[in-house]
Symmetry: C2
Subunit: 347 residues, 2 copies
């Protein structure tokens, strides 16, 4: 029968060592996974630890090792845009899985104003995190650089806006995925394809537009400026953009929306104007959000591996934290993950 340890003072390395009949140092070596310990010592320490349900005191360890054992997941968003999208939960989930598997904890940080910023800077400078991943950064935020200068490895989600800032990042292949969408539209018969783009200040949107262009070009189909209309990743903007498209003299017969939300808006507009999908107009989205499977007909879209993106971000930053040399190295070890077309009913 196991000893109830509920309310007592927690076991310390000292007590474990005593029970195991070894020194504190040896007990410590076993529990922190050092190799140079005899088999006998190892098992008796492990036994003792189990009996006392020993848990290492992270504070004490941190004090001497100067590593906190935690990774910051930073959401930097001025407005609450990031909360509407299906992205953020997946990234969080993936990052958490990886961080947790590494035996570290994920500290969630949201940065909305100047005060938050300063607090995070202090927090990081104080050595409270071993690494940080950044999500949904707007424009050219200086925060990552600040942290990096304070010695904290940083990885960004999404290709950084300015080419000059050499930060490691993890991103989906937006360009390639959009080309896939273009091919699908054309191969299914669209001859006058159009696209609803993302906001100008988001690089993912730009990449998708570029990829769409390339994809059409590869099929020898033109994309006149009149068939490129701007959206902002919301359902409403997809709706409005599509109405604009429908007012044109020569209606498009295919729409690539730069994300699924806008594609849903597009479908609403098409339906309300009595345009059949995919009969008269084909539609392709991007993301493969849960929403995409729930429309009627189901939305053909480009899937990006959201959770995997989160995992890779965490993995990468963990590597950098483990090996500071790599972090300072020339090569920026970014990762671009493949996207794939998910064909449903709108093409």
């Amino acid at each position: 029968m196991v000893t109830k340890q509920v309310r007592d003072a927690p076991a310390t390395l000292e007590s474990v060592a005593a029970l195991a009949g070894v020194s504190r140092a040896t007990a410590g070596r076993v529990l922190s996974g050092a190799t140079n310990v005899s088999e006998g010592a190892r098992t008796s320490v492990l036994d003792a630890a189990r009996q006392l349900s020993y848990v290492t005191n992270q504070a004490a360890r941190s004090l001497v090792t100067r590593r906190s054992g935690s990774v910051a997941f930073v959401v930097a968003e001025a407005e609450d845009r990031a909360f509407g999208d299906p992205f953020f939960p997946g990234l969080l989930r993936g990052a958490h899985a990886e961080v947790s598997a590494a035996g570290k904890q994920l500290v969630f940080v949201m940065v909305t104003d100047e005060q938050d910023r300063r607090q995070l800077e202090r927090f990081a400078a104080g050595g409270h995190v071993d690494a940080a991943v950044f999500v949904s950064l707007h424009g050219d935020d200086p925060l990552p650089r600040t942290l990096r200068d304070a010695g904290v490895p940083v990885v960004l989600s999404g290709r950084p806006y300015r080419a000059g800032t050499r930060f490691p990042f993890v991103d989906a292949d937006n360009e390639g995925g959009a080309a896939l969408a273009a091919h699908e539209l054309v191969d299914r018969g669209s001859r006058r394809p159009a696209t609803v783009t993302g906001p100008a200040d988001m690089i993912a949107g730009e990449d998708r537009l570029a990829g769409f262009r390339r994809g059409l070009q590869e099929r020898g189909v033109a994309l006149p400026p009149s068939r490129v209309v701007a959206g902002d990743f919301t359902i409403q903007s997809g709706y409005a953009a599509t109405e604009r498209l429908l007012r044109q003299r020569y209606r498009p017969d295919g729409v690539f929306a730069a994300n699924d939300q806008m594609a849903v808006g597009a479908m609403q507009a098409l339906r309300e104007h009595g345009v059949s999908v995919p009969g008269e107009v084909r539609v392709v989205g991007f993301d493969d959000a849960p929403l995409a499977a729930a429309t009627h007909p189901g939305l053909t879209t480009v899937r990006q591996p959201v959770e995997q993106l989160g995992r890779e971000m965490a993995q990468l930053v963990l590597e950098l934290a483990a090996d500071p040399a790599a972090a300072r190295g020339r090569r920026v070890p970014s990762r671009v993950l493949p996207t794939e077309l998910v064909r449903r009913g709108t093409t």
Copy 2:
């Protein structure tokens, strides 16, 4: 000009005290907000701290105070259901705001399997968190009790499933909100209202059904069993449930869906069957998710203050952590937040 402190060894209490010309003890008193310090000492310490950009070493502090300065945000979900809903990000955001305002950090924890469970138990037992809030608990999970028994204050999101488990919780007034929905339907003219319920194992769904019943009763309108159909909070289930409703001999002229997702599914089904909304059938949802504003017409729904729920959870658990006596007290200081009807175009 401020001294660059970027790469140097971080300032310690010792160095601050030296610069300020006081003892380490006094410096510590100032920086941890004790009152019994002379004005002169206080200002010189504060100055010194600023100059050295001192940040207290949380590890060292924790080691002696035995408090970690962090709060766990625990997502316990067997499947990924919790990730589709608009709920979880709002709760997280609210909780984070409050935790952060209290100068503590939010540690994000996901529990999916037995191993995660054990890890969290150890983590908590090791004193790594001062408190924990639980989100999207299924059925009657033993985890909260385990933590509480380990001395960690716990607050749940949503009324606990079993009445017997006396945990503090924070919840929206599901019952009252659903009654509002019933009133709206009837007051707008529905005489044969129906409802699409949530899954049987989720108390929020039960509460909403009960509230809907009460609301109809208050208006003297009947709800025959044939007009109560089961869903599971997904768009697809709302779609399917509504199709079932439409196959009945006497079609309903109003639908209350227990969440917005199902309401969206319901609207899809109605449209596809050529039924006009709100002309022939009125629809009311629940949650006021972003989606609700994006349908055509806009979805009338019951708003619950999601972010506020998160805030209150954090607030409550922080209070309990600050005052252990309260935590052990008789009274369970749960909080139920009001809901309100948001009228859009579907009624």
